[in-house]
C-alpha cells in the first residue's frame, strides 16, 4: 500500500504545480479539487487498517475539499467574465522553477528533520512542499480567487502534515479543522463575490486604498 | 560695638563730600588749572538744602523716598565696614553680602525713581546704571571672596583684620590683583571716569547724573551726598584691603584711614586726568577685566590655601 501512498503524494505535489502553472482560473480550481480528492484518498492508503475514524475523515475531506469548495468557488467567479490570470507578479515559467526549488528545499529540510515514527517518509517533504507552493501562489497571484486557491493549497499542505498522526489527533479536532477551513473559504468566496461586484474584476490589487 | 567704630562711622559721614572735591582738585591741578575748592560739594549741598524742590506730575512717592533710601542704605552699609580696622559697628558672618545688597537696594530705588519720571533721558540713565552694576557686582563679590579666603574669616571685620595682614606677605600678588580690581569697581560704582563722567553736561553720555536729572532741592542734595558717601565707602574698603590696621590703636588707625581715603581720591583724580571716558559699549569689557583680575586672585589664593 505504501506505493500507492507514494504515488498519491507525488500526485498531490503535481497538482500544486498544475495550479501554479496554469493561467486559467477554472483550471486552477479544478487542480485544487483534484488535490482535495487525493487528500481524501490518502488516509485510506496510509492506514489500511483504519476504522470508522479514517473512513469518516476520508469522506469528509472529499466532500469538503473536492466537491463543495470548488463548486462554490466556480459560482463565485461565474459573474466575472475574466478567464485568464492577468500578468502575475512572477511569470509562469519562473513560478514553476521556484516551485521546483521549493520542493527541493522541502526535501532537504525534512531530510534533516527526525521523522516522526509510523509516518510515511515522503509525507513530511510533500507536506512542506505543498505549504511552500501554496504560500508562493498566495503572494504572487493578484487575482482574489487564485489567492483563495493558494490558501486552499496551503491548508492542504498543513492538513497533509496532520495525517502524520491521524490517530493521535482525535476525530473531533479533524472535523473542527475541516469546518474552519470550509467556513474560511466560504467567507473568502463571499468577499470575492463582493469584490467582483464592486470593482468589476477579480484583481485584488485594486484593494490598496487603505494605507499610511 | 566700640566707641572707635562709632567715631569712625561719624567721621566718614563728615568727610564723605571731601572725596569728590579732592578728586576734582587733583584733576584740575594736573590740567594746570586752579579748579574748584576742595570743599565745593559742602557749599553745593548746603545751598541745595535751602532750595525748594520741583516735582514732576508723573512722579509718585517712590520718587520722594528714593533719595532718603539712597543715603540710608549707604549709611547702613557703612556700619558694616570695620573703618577703625578692628571692628565694625555691626559685624556678622557673611555681612559682605549685606553690604553689597544694601547698596544694591539704594540703586534699585534710585533707578525706580528715575523711571518714575517717565523721562526718556532718565530711563536711559537707569538702563545704563543697572547694566554697569550687573558687571561690577561679580567683581566686587570676587574681591570679597578673595579676602575671605585669604583671611579665613567670613565677616568683613574679620576678613579685613589681623588675619589679612598676616596673609599679605605670603599672598601679596594675589591681594594686589584684588586691590586693583576693587579700585576698578570703585570707579564704576562711584560713576567716575573711565566708566562715567560726573563733569560732563551732555545728557546722552552720562549715566548717573542723567538718572537724577529731575531731582532738585533737598532731594538732589541727598542724592549727591549719598553718591559721595558710597564713593568714600568704597575708598575705605580699598584702604581696608590694602592696609589692614587691626594691630594699630584706634587713634592711629583713624588718621590712617583718612590718609588712605585721600590717597584714593587723588588716585581717582589722576586716573580721570590721564584716561579718557570709555565708549559705553566698552564698559562691560572694562569691568569684566576687573572680574577676571579678582578671579585670578581667588584662584591663586585657593591654590595657596589648599596645599
Amino acid at each position: 500500500m505504501t506505493r500507492v501512498a507514494e504515488l498519491l503524494l507525488l500526485l498531490v505535489i503535481l497538482t500544486s504545480f498544475l495550479a501554479l502553472g496554469t493561467a486559467r482560473v477554472s483550471a486552477c480550481i479544478r487542480a485544487v479539487a483534484l488535490q482535495g480528492l487525493l487528500l481524501g484518498l490518502l488516509p485510506l492508503a496510509l492506514y489500511p487498517a483504519g476504522g470508522a475514524h479514517i473512513w469518516g475523515l476520508a469522506v469528509g475531506t472529499v466532500l469538503v475539499k473536492a466537491v463543495v469548495l470548488p463548486r462554490f468557488l466556480n459560482w463565485a467567479i461565474r459573474e466575472a467574465a475574466v478567464r485568464r490570470e492577468v500578468e502575475p507578479r512572477v511569470g509562469y515559467p519562473m513560478s514553476l522553477l521556484v516551485g521546483v526549488a521549493a520542493v527541493a528545499a522541502a526535501f532537504a529540510i525534512s531530510s534533516r528533520l527526525p521523522l516522526p515514527e509510523q509516518a510515511h517518509e515522503m509525507l513530511v517533504p510533500a507536506a512542506l512542499a505543498t505549504v511552500m507552493l501554496g504560500l508562493f501562489m498566495l503572494t504572487t497571484r493578484s487575482k482574489a480567487v487564485v489567492q483563495v486557491v493558494g490558501y486552499l493549497i496551503l491548508e492542504n499542505g498543513v492538513y497533509l502534515f496532520g495525517l502524520t498522526h491521524v490517530e493521535r489527533v482525535p476525530f473531533l479536532v479533524e472535523v473542527g479543522v475541516l469546518l474552519d477551513v470550509f467556513v474560511a473559504v466560504f467567507i473568502m468566496g463571499i468577499v470575492v463575490f463582493h469584490i467582483n461586484r464592486e470593482f468589476d474584476s477579480l484583481d485584488s490589487s485594486h484593494l490598496s486604498a487603505l494605507s499610511d | 560695638m566700640t566707641w572707635s567704630a562709632v567715631a569712625a562711622v561719624v567721621m566718614l559721614f563728615v568727610i564723605a563730600p571731601l572725596v569728590p572735591g579732592i578728586a576734582a582738585k587733583t584733576k584740575a591741578r594736573l590740567a594746570g588749572r586752579r579748579g574748584a575748592p576742595v570743599l565745593q560739594l559742602y557749599w553745593d549741598l548746603s545751598r541745595l538744602w535751602r532750595k525748594g524742590a520741583v516735582y514732576s506730575r508723573t512722579t509718585t512717592w517712590v520718587f520722594r523716598v528714593a533719595p532718603v533710601a539712597l543715603v540710608a542704605t549707604a549709611g547702613a552699609a557703612t556700619c558694616l565696614v570695620p573703618l577703625d580696622g578692628a571692628r565694625a559697628i555691626l559685624s556678622f558672618s557673611g555681612d559682605f553680602v549685606a553690604f553689597a545688597y544694601l547698596l544694591a537696594l539704594g540703586r534699585f530705588l534710585l533707578v525706580l525713581a528715575a523711571l518714575d519720571t517717565g523721562s526718556s533721558f532718565e530711563g536711559m540713565g537707569a538702563s545704563r546704571e543697572v547694566t554697569v552694576a550687573a558687571f561690577a557686582e561679580p567683581a566686587l563679590f570676587l574681591a570679597f571672596v578673595a579676602v575671605v579666603v585669604a583671611s579665613g574669616e567670613t565677616s568683613l571685620s574679620g576678613a579685613l583684620g589681623a588675619a589679612l595682614a598676616g596673609a599679605w606677605p605670603t599672598a601679596a600678588p594675589a591681594l594686589a590683583m584684588v586691590a586693583v580690581s576693587l579700585f576698578l569697581v570703585l570707579l564704576a560704582e562711584g560713576s567716575r571716569v573711565p566708566v562715567d563722567d560726573p563733569a560732563t553736561h551732555l545728557e546722552l553720555t552720562m549715566i548717573h547724573e542723567v538718572m537724577v536729572l529731575d531731582h532738585s532741592g533737598q532731594d538732589l542734595a541727598l542724592v549727591l551726598y549719598g553718591s559721595a558717601l558710597k564713593l568714600s565707602l568704597f575708598a575705605a574698603l580699598l584702604v581696608g584691603v590694602v592696609a589692614p590696621r587691626a594691630a594699630l590703636p584706634p587713634l592711629v588707625a583713624l588718621p590712617a584711614l583718612v590718609a588712605g581715603i585721600v590717597v584714593a581720591a587723588v588716585a581717582i583724580g589722576i586716573v580721570e586726568s590721564v584716561t579718557a571716558r570709555l565708549r559705553l559699549g566698552r564698559v562691560p569689557q572694562f569691568l569684566t577685566a576687573a572680574s577676571a583680575l579678582a578671579a585670578l586672585g581667588v584662584i591663586l589664593l585657593l591654590a595657596g590655601s589648599g596645599t
Binding site: L138, S205, D212 | V54, S56, G118, V145, L213
Partner: protein, 657 residues
C-alpha cells in the same frame, strides 16, 4: 496625621462645593471656606513637626503589589507642606474673585474643583512615604495642572503650551517610574523605608538612581535644559494657577531631589558638581531670558527658572559638603535650598497674583503696553514692589535671607579643600542677583511707573479686596521672614540636617554658625526700615518750609515730551542683552526707531522642536511600509517566518541532536 487627612478631605469637599452647590454665591463661599480651612488643617501638623514635634506615620495595607502605603510627616515633608498650604490657600482665595468674570463663557466651577484636587495632590506628594502613592499623587498633580493650564483652551497658543507642558511632565514621570521600578526590584519593596534600606546595594553609589532622579525631578523643577515647557505653561495658565504652579508645583521637583538624597545618602561627587553647574546655568540663563520677555507672565515664569537655579546652587554645594563630610556646609547648603524654596514660593506667587491683578485690570500682559499703574492701582503696586525687592534678594526682605544662607554655604566650601572651587558660585550668584535687579527695575518701571502707554493702561483700576487680601498676606510673610529670619531659618536648618543625614547636633552647629548673624541681620533690617521711614518723615517736615512746585518732567529743553518717548522695557534691557544676550541666544534689533528683543528659547526652539521634526520626518519616511498592497504584507509575514527558521537552524547547528 488624621488632622492632615481631615484637611485633605476638606479640600476635596471644597472642590465639590464649588462644583455642585446650585447657587453661585453659595458655591464660591463654600469653596473658599472649605478649601481654605482644609489648607489650614493640613498645615497644622506640619507646623507641629517643624516645631520639633513628631507625627505618627499612617500605614494603609496596600491592595496592590509593592508593600503598604505609608504616609508620614518629617521636617522635610512638613516644610514643603507649609509651602503647599500657604500658597494653596492664597491662590484659592484669590481665584474666586479672579475667575468671577469668566463665568459667562467658561466652566469656572470645574476650574475651582480642579484647583482643590490639585492642592490635595500636592499635599499628598510631600507626605507619601511609599513609591506607589507618591507616583499616583505626582501624576494626578501633573495632569490636573495641565487641565488648569488649558483653562482657556479655545486659544491655540494655550493649547500648544499645554501640550508641551504635558509632554515635558510625562517624560519626567517616565523617568521617575523607571527610577522606582529599578530601585524597587533591587529593594524588593516600594516603601521608602525599604528603598532606603536597599540604598547601599545600589551600584556605583546610586549613579543610575541619581541620574534618573535628576532627569525626572528636573523636568518638574524646570531646570535648564529641561525647563522648555515651563514659560509657556505658566504664562498661559490663569494667574492664580500660575502662582500655584510657579510657587509650589515646580518645587515638588526640589522636594523630590531632597527626598532622594535623604533616602540614598550623600550623592556622588560628580552629581554635586553637576547640580551646581546646572544651577548656575539655570540661574544666569533664566534671568537673561527673562530680561528679553515682553509678556509679563512669561517673564515671571523665566524668573522661576532663575530661582530654581539659586536653589540648586544650595543643593549642589550641600551635596558636596555631605560627600566631603563637612556637615556645616552640607546643612547650610540644603537648608539654603529649602529656605529659598519657601521664600520663592511666597514672593513668586505674590508676583503672579499681582500680575494677575494687572491683567484683570487692563486686559493685557504686554509690558510695553502698560505703564503708570502705580497711581491707578496703588495697593497692587505696593504688594508687587515688595515682591520685586524680595525676589531680587535685597534686604530687608526674605529673599535676602535665603540667598544669604546659600552664600554662607558657598563661602564656607572654601574650607573644604576638594570642594573649594564652589566658592566661584558666589560670583555667579552675585551676577544673577544683579541681573534680576535689572530685570525687575524694568518690570516695575515699565508696568507701574511713568505714564500709561495705552488706553488699556489708562483705564486700569484697582482690584477688589478679595484679590488684594491674599497678596498682602503673602507680602506680610515676606516682610516677617525678612525682618526676623530665625523663624524660618531654624526649621530650614532642621530640614538641612535631615537631608544631610547628620542629626540634630549639626542643627545646633548650623544654628551656632548663623544665629548671631541672623540676630544682627534683624537689627540691620529694623535699622534700615527705621532710618528710611524716619528720614522720609523728616524730609516731609523739612520740605514743609520750602517752596514746592510741580510741573512736567524735565525734557532737557524739549518742550512737548510725549508718552511714546518714554523708555520702553525693550530699550531698557537692550544694553544688557547686547552684552550678555548672544551667549543666551537672545537677539536685540533696532527696527524703525525702537528696540526689539527677540526672546527665543534656546532649548525649545533650537533643540527640542528641531529634534522632534527630525523624528517626524523619519517616521514619514518609513510610512511606505504600510503601503496597502496585500502581497507585500504577506511578504513581511514570510520574511518573518524565514528569519525565524534561519534562527532555528542556527540554534539546531549548535545543539546537536
Amino acid at each position: 496625621m488624621t488632622l492632615f487627612f481631615l484637611g485633605v478631605v476638606l479640600l476635596l469637599l471644597g472642590g465639590a462645593a464649588a462644583a455642585l452647590l446650585p447657587r453661585r454665591r453659595a458655591a464660591d463661599a463654600g469653596f473658599a471656606a472649605l478649601a481654605g480651612g482644609g489648607c489650614a488643617a493640613a498645615a497644622a501638623p506640619a507646623l507641629w513637626a517643624l516645631a520639633g514635634g513628631t507625627v505618627a506615620d499612617l500605614r494603609i495595607t496596600a491592595a496592590v503589589p509593592g508593600g503598604d502605603w505609608v504616609f508620614g510627616i518629617d521636617p522635610l515633608s512638613a516644610f514643603f507642606l507649609v509651602i503647599v498650604c500657604a500658597v494653596g490657600a492664597a491662590s484659592v482665595l484669590y481665584g474666586v474673585p479672579y475667575l468671577a468674570t469668566e463665568r459667562a463663557h467658561r466652566s469656572v466651577r470645574v476650574a475651582h474643583l480642579l484647583t482643590a484636587i490639585e492642592i490635595a495632590a500636592l499635599a499628598l506628594v510631600v507626605v507619601a512615604r511609599s513609591a506607589m502613592p507618591f507616583l499616583i499623587a505626582w501624576e494626578v498633580m501633573a495632569v490636573l495642572a495641565y487641565f488648569l493650564v488649558v483653562f482657556e483652551s479655545e486659544r491655540v497658543a494655550v493649547r500648544r503650551a499645554g501640550l508641551i507642558y504635558l509632554i515635558g511632565t510625562h517624560t519626567g514621570t517616565l523617568a521617575l517610574i523607571a527610577l522606582f521600578a529599578y530601585w524597587g526590584q533591587l529593594a524588593g519593596g516600594l516603601s521608602f523605608a525599604a528603598l532606603a534600606a536597599a540604598a547601599p546595594m545600589l551600584p556605583a553609589s546610586g549613579a543610575l538612581v541619581f541620574t534618573l532622579g535628576l532627569a525626572g525631578f528636573g523636568f518638574k523643577a524646570g531646570l535648564v535644559p529641561l525647563h522648555f515647557w515651563l514659560p509657556g505653561a505658566h504664562g498661559a495658565a490663569p494667574s492664580h494657577v500660575s502662582a500655584l504652579m510657579s510657587g509650589v508645583v515646580i518645587k515638588m521637583g526640589i522636594y523630590g531631589l531632597l527626598r532622594l538624597v535623604t533616602l540614598v545618602g550623600p550623592p556622588p561627587v560628580w552629581w554635586g558638581w553637576l547640580v551646581l553647574a546646572v544651577g548656575l546655568a539655570s540661574g544666569v540663563l533664566g534671568v537673561l531670558w527673562a530680561l528679553a520677555q515682553h509678556d509679563l507672565k512669561r517673564l515671571l515664569a523665566y524668573h522661576s527658572v532663575e530661582n530654581i537655579g539659586i536653589i540648586l546652587l544650595g543643593l549642589g554645594v550641600g551635596a558636596l559638603g555631605a560627600r566631603y563630610d563637612a556637615p556645616v556646609v552640607a546643612v547650610l547648603g540644603y537648608a539654603g535650598a529649602a529656605l529659598h524654596t519657601l521664600n520663592h514660593a511666597l514672593f513668586k506667587s505674590l508676583l503672579f497674583l499681582g500680575a494677575g491683578a494687572v491683567l484683570h485690570a487692563t486686559g493685557t500682559r504686554e509690558i510695553d503696553r502698560l505703564g503708570g499703574l502705580a497711581r491707578r492701582m496703588p495697593f497692587t503696586w505696593t504688594a508687587f514692589l515688595v515682591g520685586s525687592v524680595a525676589i531680587v534678594g535685597l534686604p530687608p526682605l526674605n529673599g535676602f535671607v535665603s540667598e544669604w544662607v546659600v552664600y554662607q554655604a558657598l563661602i564656607r566650601s572654601a574650607d573644604v579643600s576638594p570642594a573649594r572651587a564652589a566658592v566661584f558660585g558666589v560670583a555667579g550668584l552675585a551676577l544673577i542677583g544683579a541681573l534680576a535687579l535689572a530685570c525687575f527695575a524694568k518690570v516695575c518701571g515699565a508696568v507701574f511707573l511713568g505714564q500709561p502707554r495705552t488706553s488699556a493702561a489708562e483705564g486700569g483700576r484697582e482690584v477688589g479686596y478679595g484679590m488684594l487680601g491674599p497678596m498682602f498676606v503673602l507680602a506680610a510673610a515676606c516682610v516677617v521672614i525678612g525682618l526676623v529670619p530665625l523663624v524660618a531659618v531654624a526649621p530650614a536648618l532642621r530640614v538641612g540636617a535631615l537631608v544631610g543625614g547628620v542629626g540634630t547636633a549639626a542643627v545646633n552647629d548650623g544654628l551656632a554658625a548663623v544665629a548671631p548673624a541672623l540676630r544682627r541681620i534683624t537689627v540691620l533690617a529694623f535699622a534700615l526700615v527705621g532710618s528710611v521711614a524716619g528720614g522720609a518723615w523728616l524730609m516731609r517736615l523739612a520740605s514743609r518750609r520750602r517752596t514746592q512746585t510741580s510741573s512736567e518732567t524735565w525734557g532737557c529743553g524739549y518742550e512737548r515730551p510725549s508718552v511714546r518717548m518714554q523708555y520702553t522695557a525693550a530699550s531698557f534691557a537692550a544694553p544688557l542683552l547686547a552684552a550678555y544676550g548672544p551667549s543666551a541666544g537672545v537677539q536685540v534689533t533696532r527696527e524703525h526707531g525702537a528696540f526689539h528683543t527677540h526672546p527665543l528659547d534656546l532649548v525649545l526652539d533650537k533643540l527640542v522642536l528641531p529634534l522632534w521634526t527630525r523624528l517626524r520626518n523619519w517616521a514619514i519616511s518609513v510610512r511606505p511600509i504600510q503601503q496597502g498592497r496585500l502581497w507585500v504584507y504577506l511578504l513581511y509575514l514570510l520574511g518573518a517566518l524565514v528569519a525565524l527558521l534561519l534562527y532555528l537552524a542556527l540554534q539546531l547547528e549548535r545543539v546537536s541532536w
